[in-house]
């Protein structure tokens, strides 16, 4: 309860700050729509040549695009900004102020920034999902909806852990932006179901950079492809990733001597 209040306060402060820059909403809307248009044009190009891509039809791939946009929005609004902040904090010494606060350090560094306008992507992704699912015809039962929500949450948590681990490396590595850029590229691979990739790449996209769990698995839940095995695997991965990331964060902290002192 106490933690929820803390999160809420930080979120509200960030949101109020963002509300000052309303023109950014227009810029973000433009970028979101453009991103979607590029994605859709890519799909149209593929499906002008074939009826199905590795067993996925046009509407089913639209579901993948929807999930990809939605998760991408969450990463860009809630996860990434905080992780940049950690790296910057180490370089400039601001991190020390956070560490001296009498609350859980991992929680604090994860909620300091929130980019409100990036949520436009989440809305766009949801819109695409609703459109695609309603057209699919097979309908969505309560079971599918719950399974989807669960694996989506797992995907989000796995990604968060992954990012926290990368941000933690900034205790040792000074320039981390190249990692972020590489990640952006790798995330683009998630626009397509990971099943189309050769097995070594599929492995990498599942366990090294968890694009599969964040995008493909939730999309499978909505297109009646999810097997209980993958549901269990997603839950297991999420738990494991959270524990590992937390351990690594504390390990990093122990090796951190501060930059401002």
């Amino acid at each position: 309860m106490h933690y929820l209040r803390l999160i809420w306060t930080y979120l509200r402060l960030s949101a109020l700050n963002e509300l000052q820059y309303r023109a950014n909403l227009l810029v973000q809307m433009f970028n979101s729509v453009l991103g979607l248009a590029i994605g859709l044009a890519g799909l149209a190009l593929v499906f002008s040549q074939t009826d199905s891509l590795a067993g996925w039809g046009p509407l089913e791939l639209l579901v993948v695009v929807g999930v990809h946009t939605l998760i991408g929005g969450i990463i860009k609004s809630v996860i990434q900004p905080n992780m940049y902040q950690i790296a910057e904090g180490v370089q400039e010494g601001n991190l020390d102020y956070i560490l001296t606060k009498p609350e859980d350090s991992q929680l604090l560094v994860s909620i300091t920034r929130f980019e409100l306008w990036r949520l436009v992507d989440v809305l766009v992704g949801l819109g695409v999902l609703i459109f695609a699912v309603s057209r699919l015809g097979q309908g969505i039962g309560l079971g599918e909806a719950v399974a989807f929500s669960v694996v989506l949450l797992c995907g989000g948590l796995i990604f968060y852990s992954f990012w926290l681990a990368i941000a933690t490396t900034s205790f040792w590595v000074v320039r981390t932006w190249a990692i972020y850029e590489m990640f952006d590229r790798l995330y683009q691979a998630g626009r397509w179901p990971v099943g189309i990739y050769p097995s070594w790449l599929r492995f990498g996209l599942t366990f090294l950079v968890p694009v599969a769990f964040a995008v493909t698995v939730p999309a499978e839940a909505l297109t009646a492809r999810l097997t209980p095995l993958y549901l269990a695997l997603a839950l297991g991965m999420a738990a494991l990733a959270l524990v590992a990331a937390r351990w690594f964060w504390h390990f990093g902290l122990r090796h951190y001597s501060g930059a401002s002192a």
Partner: protein, 267 residues
């Protein structure tokens, strides 16, 4: 002239050293490039297989060849990002550069060449690795490879000058994100990066012929793959030179206005 050569050489050396210092970063960028080509290699191979082994006049192994050669051409033709210019203008770093007695484009250019030289060290092994995995089919046509050299140089210069013009608009807006994204989006489809242009619908192929993007990427790529006919090659060179002339005229015009406009943020 000798003076400018000295400037170029000094900037080249300085940047070469800087790039080597941040090896990890270069490596990461390389992985990014590799992944982008890999995604579309896989997507179009899958499509070609579903169609019985052909898409847009490319067989499955030729698709692999296309996207492997893609990496090479892309590394050579990518210029330096307009975001860097925007950042420089916004931070005020541009002030001291403008005070120097040589045009900043010279130092920028040799920095560019230095990082390309370094990047090739990683691109070539990556291409070999992809070739081993995907077993592409290449057909090396000697005259086409000879024509490739000037085509690549022109493609690079054209893209570079174009980006420079685009970056200069930062003098007016100082916030450019939207414009660039739109630009990259159009380039993505009409340059042949997402797929061979022959996969595009007929009308889009016609549009691609008129836009500059095809001549900055697809044209040299086709020469490398030996897929061009002699008359197509001549037309390609003509289009490259035409666009380059337009851009050089534009850059002179814009530069003069831009420096007059420049307000020295952060002084």
């Amino acid at each position: 002239m000798k003076h400018i050569a000295q400037v170029l050489l000094a900037a080249f050396k300085a940047h070469l050293i800087a790039t080597f210092q941040y090896r990890v970063q270069e490596g990461m960028q390389m992985i990014g490039l590799l992944v982008e080509s890999l995604i579309y290699l896989v997507v179009w191979t899958t499509v070609a297989k579903a169609r019985g082994g052909e898409v847009g006049g490319f067989s499955t192994d030729e698709i692999a060849g296309y996207f492997i050669a893609w990496m090479f051409v892309r590394n050579i033709t990518t210029g330096w990002s307009p975001y860097a210019m925007e950042w420089r203008i916004r931070r005020g770093d541009f002030n001291s550069l403008l005070l120097r007695p040589v045009h900043p484009i010279f130092a920028d250019t040799s920095e560019m060449l230095a990082s390309k030289a370094v990047a090739m060290i990683t691109v070539i092994p990556a291409m070999i690795a992809l070739a081993l995995v995907f077993k592409p089919r290449f057909e090396l046509v000697p005259w086409s490879l000879v024509a490739l050299i000037p085509a690549l140089i022109l493609a690079f210069v054209l893209r570079y000058v174009l980006m420079y013009v685009l970056a200069l608009t930062a003098f007016w807006t100082t916030r450019l994100g939207g414009l660039f994204e739109l630009w990259y989006g159009v380039e993505f489809f009409f340059s042949g990066r997402v797929a061979p242009l022959t996969v595009l619908p007929e009308w889009a192929q016609q549009v691609a012929n008129l836009l500059p993007f095809k001549w900055m990427f697809y044209f040299p790529l086709e020469l490398l793959l030996g897929r061009s006919q002699p008359d197509e090659m001549l037309f390609g060179f003509a289009m490259q030179i035409l666009w380059l002339t337009v851009m050089v005229l534009l850059i002179r015009f814009v530069w003069r206005r831009a420096t007059r406009r420049y307000a020295a943020v952060g002084g």
